[in-house]
Amino acid sequence: MRVKRHPIIEAKEQSEIRFFYNEEEVIGYQGDTIASALHALGFKVLSRSIQEHRARGFYCAIGNCGSCHMIVNNVPNVKTCITKLEPGMVVMTQKDLGKII
């Protein structure tokens, strides 16, 4: 869900960005971070905890907490809350510590 009307912030017409979330093609907008685009689409679960596999979403949205880590273009532990969305990005839910390539 996106903000429809706002008394202070001016709405800007933004162009679409197509990317992949767990192999599904989805749409975000110019200016989005990966996490904001996914959230707008209703995907709040970004990763799973390593031991208990509990759902993880972002907590701080500014790159501090590490709760938003995902696998982006095969790179694990990407802070999706401060990484700008780019066309064609392949974004996957992370379920482990991530492997160093």
Partner: protein
């Protein structure tokens, strides 16, 4: 190794003002910022600031960010800015290491200003890790910066200024705020903010805390409970509220990690938010030529972060040989501004914390 005059870590209100001061004095400056843009947390703040004209009172936060960034434009020949760049190391030999797009870089600086700001605290309760539970600032970022709504129905924990302001901004964006809960017996933030919210029909429940969150993979319900005069739960006072979003606004912690890494002397001062560097009157840490300003040296408002930044930039530049022609006048003026910002009942906590910090330096 890349040699630099002055490295400023963090491009928020403190770092930007420090840059401006140092540039005006004639120094060459490198700002390193982790986020894709400068401005720190100002860029998501849609409300108008308090304070006096010198700290941009009556101007909205995001416009202040714009002003601070624009103020650096005349100095672009001596200013370098690295965005999307995380400082991953600060060492005793004045080496700063960074990571940008998987590329590791080493810098060496004559002086360093650490203006890393703060991070939102978390609160311990059952299921506090469910998606849908966010720091209040995170929700502010999501809706004000990216135009994305956090959910449909929100419960806010904490009635400090951030909790109150973000609640109001949630309503502006069209989200229903079901309640603000506050463990203390009184509202923490300014009355003007609280009254505005109460008038819109949002209950502010004092002496109330969160007991538990419910949901499968994301938040569905919140259980709250009343507290007695001794902060103990009152049995049977539990209430369930349907909500898909819970905002936690229970304070901030200074981002001290880089300072700790360089083994700079730290002290724990609750009034300032936790671990803070021990500093001299000119904001220098126990490591010579390493200075700090803004929330990293005690949680306060952005207004004081800006003035601290201006002061610190001036001093750091002087240290490495660039003395501003009006050094003494400016230094004096910034000190007076800081005292003014910390006067009055809402500055009490800062005053106590800073007094304890002064004592720690001489100990």
């Amino acid at each position: 190794m890349i040699e630099k005059d002055l490295i400023i870590i963090g491009g928020g209100p403190a770092g930007l003002k420090a840059s401006k001061s140092a540039l005006e004095a004639g120094a060459k400056v490198l700002i390193i910022e982790r986020n894709p843009e400068l401005g720190g947390q100002l860029i998501k703040q849609t409300h108008k600031f308090f304070g006096s004209e010198k700290q941009y009172a009556k101007t909205r936060g995001f416009n202040i960010a714009y002003i601070l960034i624009s103020e650096l434009a005349p100095f672009k020949e001596r200013l370098e800015i690295e965005l999307d760049t995380t400082v991953v190391g600060l060492y005793k030999d004045y080496v700063v290491t960074t990571l940008k797009n998987e590329i590791y870089q080493k810098y060496h600086a004559k002086a360093i200003i650490v203006a890393t700001g703060a991070s939102e605290k978390v609160l311990a309760f059952e299921n506090n890790d469910l998606p849908g539970i966010y720091g209040a600032g995170a929700v502010q970022t999501l809706m004000n910066l990216y135009g994305v709504l956090p959910g449909k129905e929100v419960v806010m924990i904490g009635s400090g200024n951030i909790g109150l302001i973000v609640s109001y901004q949630l309503m502006q964006a069209g989200v229903k705020v079901k309640a603000i809960i506050e463990a203390a017996p009184t509202i923490g933030g300014y009355k003007v903010h609280a009254s505005k919210i109460s008038r819109l029909g949002v209950p502010i429940l004092t002496s109330t805390t969160i007991k538990k969150a419910y949901g499968t993979d994301q938040l569905e319900k919140v259980e709250i409970i009343s507290l007695d005069d001794n902060w103990q739960e009152i049995a049977g006072s539990n209430k369930i509220i349907d909500a898909d979003t819970l905002c936690v606004s229970v304070g901030l912690s200074p981002m001290h990690q880089l300072l700790s890494m360089a083994e700079i002397k730290m002290v724990c001062i609750n009034e300032l938010g936790g671990m803070v560097p021990s500093i001299s009157a000119i904001h220098e840490t126990s490591m010579k030529n390493v200075f700090v300003c803004g929330d990293v040296v005690g949680i306060e408002e952005a207004s004081s972060a800006m003035v601290e930044g201006a002061l610190t930039g001036l001093i750091a530049a002087e240290r490495i040989g660039y003395t501003h022609p009006e050094f003494n006048e400016l230094k004096n003026d910034y000190s007076i501004q800081l005292d003014a910002l910390r006067s009055g009942p809402f500055g009490k906590k800062s005053r106590i914390g800073l007094d304890r910090l002064k004592v720690s330096e001489h100990a």
